[in-house]
């Protein structure tokens, strides 16, 4: 089976990011999964066992004293070195900020083709076929790369299977880059929220302009917490300053595909629908009976969110207690 490289992202304290299991599982579908990581010299202790446990047959560690000091270059040089040494049939990175930066430069460096934001991956007669979800899921497109190496960026949260744990073998090399931008400081987000991450949540509760104010938006958070859901918002609610932009669901925000999406006081402009219309079940509550959100809702309630939602929360709590 051909080698498939998977770029493992590490935190500034050296922990394996939560996206690694799905990336290794995707690589295992296509060939022999090889985990590639850039680490500070001597900083890779523990990675071999941990990555083997996630299914990596081989671990390729590129040591560089530029890790966490120079942007992108250490990870890029790690993949360049692994590509030269292992001649893989494909290279997988996450469709994250780091993964896209590294994948983009790598594609130009090794004359490869980029396959962006894959939501599914399979191998067909030796070719890697990627599935993409375009315009917020309005279209499904399959693509492949011809006449050169394949570099795929994988959407977080879409590959649910996991590779079987194994005992990995290890290669360690030293890499260095000539140049690159300087990292002056890294701030890891403080884990103040116990809520799930918006992109990967099974349930999302979103609020729109209909909430009326930043204070009243708290109702959305209360329902989200009652359901163990992530909090989202329409662009109108973000523009009105009710919530930060990171909560925005829609074409210019995050695209979500949860099991359950509850839209509170959201009219359902195309802009918003493009970010949530592939949700399995959509529930909408809105005062305006003509709001377009009702056209795509599996369960729509024409009513006031400030009476329906508190009643719903109470009913949920009563169920939980019984």
């Amino acid at each position: 089976m051909p080698n498939i490289l998977a770029l493992i992202e590490l935190s500034s304290t050296g922990e394996i990011r939560g996206t690694a299991p799905s990336l290794i599982a995707a690589a295992a579908r296509l060939g022999t999964p090889v985990a590639v990581a850039a680490v500070a010299p001597g900083g890779g202790a523990g990675l071999l066992d941990a990555l083997g446990a996630l299914g990596a047959e081989h671990v390729f560690l590129a040591e560089s004293d530029q890790v966490d000091k120079v942007l992108v270059s250490p990870q890029l040089e790690a993949l360049v070195a692994a590509n030269a040494a292992l001649e893989p049939a494909g290279i997988l990175v996450m469709n994250s900020v780091e993964g896209r930066d590294v994948g983009a430069r790598l594609a130009v460096r090794i004359h490869g083709g980029l396959s962006i934001d894959a939501v599914d991956l399979r191998s067909d007669a030796g070719k890697i076929i990627a599935t993409h979800s375009i315009f917020g899921g309005a279209y499904t497109v399959e693509s492949t790369v011809e006449d050169g190496p394949v570099i795929v960026t994988l959407r977080p949260g879409v590959i649910q299977d996991r590779a079987e744990a194994t005992t990995a073998t290890l290669t360690t090399v030293q890499v260095t880059a000539d140049s690159g931008a300087t990292i002056d400081g890294i701030t890891d987000a403080v884990g103040t929220s116990s809520r799930p991450e918006l992109r990967e949540a099974k349930i999302v509760v979103s609020g729109g302009r209909g909430l009326g104010s930043k204070e009243k938006f708290e109702l959305v958070e209360r329902l989200a917490d009652a359901l163990g859901a992530a909090v989202g918002a329409s662009r109108a609610a973000v523009d009105a300053g009710y919530v930060p932009q990171t909560s925005q669901v829609g074409q210019t925000g995050t695209t979500v595909a949860p099991q359950l999406y509850i839209a509170l006081g959201i009219s359902g402009a195309i802009q918003h629908r493009a970010g949530m219309q592939t949700a399995k079940t959509i529930v909408a509550i809105n005062k305006d009976a003509d709001a377009p959100i009702f056209d795509i809702a599996d369960y729509g309630i024409v009513g006031d969110v400030f009476t329906v939602v508190p009643q719903l929360i109470e009913a949920l709590q009563a169920r939980a207690a019984s």
Partner: protein
């Protein structure tokens, strides 16, 4: 300082957007083409530097069909000094690799101290073009910047990541991309609209750039199939008569959604 701002024409996200089912390429006739909002924010970053530093030259660079002219004129009315339009029929449906090759060639031709782009377009959402161009040109790049500070010989900023943020900087020349957290673009004033007509708008073909129309840089993305998702239909719709919250809890429980 010469700042080149990259701009892309995209279908309006407030309308229905379509792909051509036969080719998988964007159906440009299906929706109104507009300047991508994120590219406008990139332009605002350059304009603010020019506000504070007279003598700054801003060039707007874009690749796309003939309809691009109106978008470039809008940019010129906002205070851009010159616009460059790469127009070539053989570029229709160009993939990321080809687009990066062409834009890098155009930048080499125009010259630059700093290149500013949006982090990702609202149509393709690739978020890779600035980094690909940087690799072609051998430049450092700072991507996904939530804030940008430009000085005479450096650019710095805060880069948002999934796990937090990073403070980053690099010497010029460099390429940066900015996110939706940077300020919205200003409105054109009357004087700007009048002067836009006198400003240079250069149209360049691949020949002008010295890029062969059939040049293959290596791997190419090929669309194998395109399918449209069936339209979602409305389900149950009820008017709250005092019990809708309880009924909804019932619905969620019955569907094992909670």
């Amino acid at each position: 300082m010469k700042i080149v701002v990259l701009m892309k024409q995209v279908p309006d996200t407030y309308e229905e957007r379509k792909l051509d089912p036969a080719t998988g390429i964007l159906d440009r006739a299906a929706s109104e083409p507009i300047i991508d909002e994120i590219g406008e924010r990139a332009l605002e970053v350059a304009l603010r530097y020019k506000d504070a530093n007279k003598g700054t030259e801003i060039v707007l660079l874009s690749m796309g069909p003939a309809s691009l002219t109106s978008s470039l004129r809008k940019g010129l009315s906002l205070g851009v000094d010159a616009a460059v339009h790469i127009l070539d029929e053989s570029l229709a449906g160009a993939d990321l690799g080809r687009t990066a090759t062409v834009l890098a060639a155009a930048l080499t031709k125009s010259g630059y101290d700093l290149v500013v782009a949006g982090n990702e377009s609202t149509d393709g959402r690739g978020g890779v073009m600035p980094a690909m161009i940087a690799e072609h040109l051998g430049l450092p790049h700072l991507s996904f910047l939530d804030s940008v500070t430009i000085s005479e010989d450096q650019v710095s900023g805060t880069r948002g990541t999934e796990s937090g943020s990073m403070d980053v900087r690099t010497n010029l020349p460099a390429i940066v991309s900015v996110t939706e957290r940077t300020p919205e673009v200003r409105f054109p004033n009357f004087k700007g609209i009048l002067s836009a007509k006198k400003k240079p708008l250069t149209v360049l073909s691949l020949d002008d750039l010295g890029v062969a129309s059939d040049e293959l840089a290596g791997g190419r993305s090929v669309v194998l199939s395109t399918s449209e998702r069936p339209t979602r239909t409305a389900g149950t719709k009820v008017v709250d008569e005092g019990n809708a919250g309880v009924d909804l809890a019932e619905f969620l429980a019955a569907g094992h959604l909670i």
